[in-house]
């Protein structure tokens, strides 16, 4: 279910004749002080020079962290991880629509040439076929990495994922086979002009299904470490790649193979007055909003990246909220029954955390609508809405 818009979305780089203001298709209002374009080249969420990105450096072995690194954007980090997985394990196979020539987002560049067309190949245009095929491979002990061209097109494979992939280990009991070797990768999230079917973030639909691990990286270092962990994990994994970061997010990524832990959140910034919880691209918006709020309101905010949205790291969230007493959850997908609903409910359900709450749990997320082309900037969370969320929570 690839569509004409592929080219449009795939070529994120601005044309030379257009003013280079963040992204070419939208500019910010002249007097804006909050909704400014994210400058990915200076954000402390990415490791620009000596790998000093905010985050838990202790998760990576010292020799990896201090070893050689290479500047990569997110699609290159995904490509790097896939290359390592193919090189290290003969059981790894990569397939999907248009992956053989490198993929519409360049994530599988040169993999078919290097590892052979039997291990990296195009499939017919059928999402249910791709995921079903992957489950069959996994059940035979392979480690298939299937690509769905856009998260918006995962739905034809819903049945295979939910009734088959997620349930196989449970259904087989002690018979042995399971689909744990399966990883499904897919680009997700808003890209400024993706409209209804090149913008969706369907992660919460899959967090309602026991059996899958649902992962959303925010940076090239994460994409590589979490993807390698997902491929090697014996549970089926759904790996959502924020496509707006494919080219925009660039950082120094260790060249060695490494894994980052699944189902473990990462504290990006210490704070004492409010906890902001997010994952994927909105983390950059959160950090901007926090910086403005700290300047304006004289507070300090803690920022947590969930990384794995299911099974998620409740303890990390509880610990933080017990300290700050205030919390805001931020995500692109619509607010109702989104990840924020689950996080908020879990916070109020945990007695030791509930009693520490000083304000209602806030949610900044997409409105409960489809992603409309021309109105995208009014529905997806932005710095101003997050800033306002922080302000309201503190004023409560």
């Amino acid at each position: 279910m690839k569509r004409q818009a592929v080219r449009l979305v795939g070529s994120v780089g601005p044309a030379a004749w257009l003013p280079r203001v963040g992204r070419c298709y939208s500019t910010h209002p002249p007097n804006a002080r909050l909704n400014l374009p994210i400058d990915y080249s200076t954000t402390p969420l990415l490791a620009h020079g000596g790998r000093t990105a905010l985050g838990d450096a202790g998760e990576m072995p010292a020799q990896v962290r201090n070893g050689p690194a290479k500047k990569m954007n997110l699609f290159q980090a995904v490509n790097d991880a896939l290359g390592i997985a193919l090189a290290q394990d003969d059981n790894v196979l990569i397939f999907g629509e248009d992956v053989a020539f490198g993929g519409v987002f360049r994530c599988t560049m040169r993999l078919a040439e290097t590892y052979g067309s039997d291990r990296v190949f195009n499939t017919p245009l059928t999402e249910q076929g791709i995921v079903g095929f992957g489950i069959g491979l996994a059940a035979q002990g392979m480690r298939p990495v299937a690509e769905i061209q856009f998260a918006d097109y995962i739905y034809p494979a819903f049945d295979q994922m939910i009734n088959e992939g997620a349930k196989m280990r449970y259904r087989e009991g002690s018979n042995g086979p399971h689909a744990g070797g399966l990883t499904v990768r897919m680009p997700c999230g808003g890209v400024g002009h993706g409209g209804l079917y090149h913008s969706q973030s369907p992660e919460s639909l899959f967090t309602h299904v026991p059996g899958f691990r649902v992962i959303v990286p925010r940076s090239p270092i994460q994409a590589k470490g979490l993807l390698l962990a997902a491929i090697r994990c014996n549970d089926p994994c759904l790996f959502l790649e924020p496509k707006i970061l494919y080219r925009a997010a660039v950082e120094q990524v260790p060249e060695a193979a490494y894994e980052l832990p699944l189902s473990k959140a990462e504290k990006l910034k210490e704070g004492k007055d409010i906890t902001i919880i997010s994952y994927g691209q909105p983390l950059y918006l959160c950090l901007s909003a926090i910086q403005r709020a700290e300047e304006d309101l004289g507070i300090s905010a803690e920022l947590i990246d969930l990384r794995t949205v299911y099974p998620w790291d409740k303890q990390a969230v509880f610990e933080s909220v017990r300290k700050t007493g205030r919390v805001l959850v931020v995500h692109e997908s619509m607010v109702n029954a989104g990840i924020g609903a689950e996080v908020a409910a879990a916070i109020q359900e945990d007695a030791d955390t509930f009693v520490r709450l000083e304000a209602p749990v806030g949610r900044v997320a997409g409105w409960s609508i489809h992603n409309p082309l021309i109105f995208e900037r009014f529905t997806l969370p932005d710095v101003a809405r997050i800033y306002d969320g922080i302000k309201k929570s503190l004023a409560y």
């Binding site: 059928t126 095929f133 088959e164 259904r171 409740k314």
Partner: protein, 452 residues
């Protein structure tokens, strides 16, 4: 469906042949630029249909202009051999064994159907009329061939070695059930026999079988000593209307996967007759459209099924691997399941006709009696013996404990998550707090298994 289709197909195969021979390097790049239009050519070299000849007559192909694909049979309904080239390839003892396997399933059907009617198990599905398809297929496949079933292939489990205890443990969901009591009755699975556990959603097993076939192909490429194996996939003609059928056939063909697709076309999908299921020539005619070698077989003739599956397996392993489709024509003599009364949508006389006129078990029995290796005495002895064995297994399985309560939280993930440990503890608290509200005595270890 002979002439107009087949030459075209052969040409298409020929166009693909070099890439199969030359292997991966050649397959890697079949750039569209290599398909070009030559001046004055008789063929349109559009990339989408290689070697399609030009024609100046405006003519639509109509399904009616093709004769229905023929149905291969070896023995007719009177038990008389009609394929004069046929010689049984197995001993009389082995033939009797296959007959008893079919008989076993038909007797189990009667006992378990009644047991369900008495409320002693929640659900059952019989396979009356279709025993030859499953037993016959199983008897010519390698025990290592991974098999995906739909749900009406009990005979396959039996022939491959599923025991009475295993059947009954699954049906009663007791602690000896390898599915750990999680699945509805007849959703059998057998890891040791390389048969995947049956899942209710129809046709989902089909693209999975294509993937399994591709895995077998890769494993042989990576290890020359690996045993040649094919994936096997059963499905009904109703399931073939699902999108997964299309996905599976197309993927198996384009990725050259060694997989046997075996369709049981029994005329009905619950109440829906085939006339409301499709308008083409059954399922077999579709195989050709996908570029898949295909045969239609008399599914009430175990010899025809055996010959076709045996040959199909050899074909599936040729050229590194390819799919083959077998459509077995049968008639669903039984109700769809214990939840169905089929006389609400078809005439009782139609069913009685099929039972009397043509039935895979009586057909093989007539053949065996003509051969002199079976008679009324042996029949009675076999029936009595199988019935005794089954009733004994039934009684033992029914009184066996159910699996430990803890197993309901296990195998969702490889390791139990923190959430699940907490939920297990909460269930335990409920059982402690409200002991009269729950009966846990039938579960192995009672509530004690619910410790974190």
């Amino acid at each position: 469906m002979k002439s107009p289709f087949l030459p075209a197909l052969r040409l298409q195969r020929a166009a693909l042949a070099p890439r199969l021979v030359a292997g991966s390097a050649a397959r890697q790049r079949r750039l569209s630029s290599s398909v070009s239009q030559r001046p004055n050519s008789d063929f349109v070299s559009f990339p989408g249909a290689l070697k399609s000849a030009f024609t100046s007559s405006l003519k639509f192909e109509t399904p009616e202009s093709y004769a229905a694909l023929p149905t291969y049979r070896v023995v007719d309904q009177h038990g008389v051999v009609v394929d004069q080239a046929f010689e049984p390839d197995i001993s009389d003892e082995q033939i009797v064994k296959l007959y008893k396997d079919m008989l076993y399933i038909s007797i189990m059907d009667l006992i378990m159907f009644d047991a369900q009617r008495q409320g002693r198990l929640s659900f059952y599905m019989v396979s009356a009329g279709e025993e030859a398809v499953s037993v016959g297929s199983s008897s010519v496949l390698d025990p290592g061939d991974p098999v995906y079933c739909q749900y009406r292939e009990q005979g396959f489990f039996k022939e491959r070695g599923f025991t009475t205890k295993e059947f009954m443990s699954q049906l009663f969901a007791n602690r000896n059930d390898t599915g750990k009591g999680r699945n509805m009755p007849i959703h059998y699975g057998a890891g040791r026999l390389n048969i995947y556990t049956v899942s209710s959603p129809l046709a989902t097993q089909m693209p999975q079988a294509s993937g399994a076939g591709y895995a077998l192909r890769m494993q042989r490429m990576q290890d020359a000593n690996a045993k040649p194996r094919v994936a096997v996939c059963f499905f009904g003609e109703g399931a073939a209307s699902e999108g997964d059928f299309h996905a599976a056939m197309n993927m198996a063909a384009t990725r050259s996967c060694p997989v046997l697709f075996i369709c049981r076309n029994n005329g009905y999908a619950i109440s829906t007759p085939t006339l409301e299921q499709y308008r083409g020539d059954g399922i077999a005619s579709r195989g050709i459209g996908y570029g898949i070698d295909t045969i239609r077989v008399d599914g009430n003739d175990i010899w025809a099924v055996r010959e076709a599956v045996k040959r199909a397996r050899e074909m599936a392993l040729q050229e590194g691997g390819k799919p083959v489709l077998i459509e077995c024509m049968t008639y669903r003599v039984s109700h769809h399941s214990t939840s169905d009364d089929s006389f609400a949508y078809r005439a009782r006389v139609e069913v009685e006709d099929w039972k009397r006129r043509d039935n895979p078990i009586t057909r093989l029995r007539k053949w065996m009696e003509a051969r002199g290796c079976w008679d009324e005495g042996k029949e009675k002895e076999a029936r009595d013996g199988l019935r005794r064995e089954m009733l004994q297994g039934f009684a033992e399985a029914e009184k066996e404990l159910k699996p430990a309560l803890r197993t309901m939280f296990e195998d969702v993930y490889e390791e139990m998550t923190d959430d699940l440990r907490e939920q297990m503890a909460r269930l335990r608290e409920m059982l402690d707090e409200y002991p009269d509200e729950y009966d846990v005595a039938e579960f192995e270890g009672g509530k004690e298994s619910l410790k974190r």
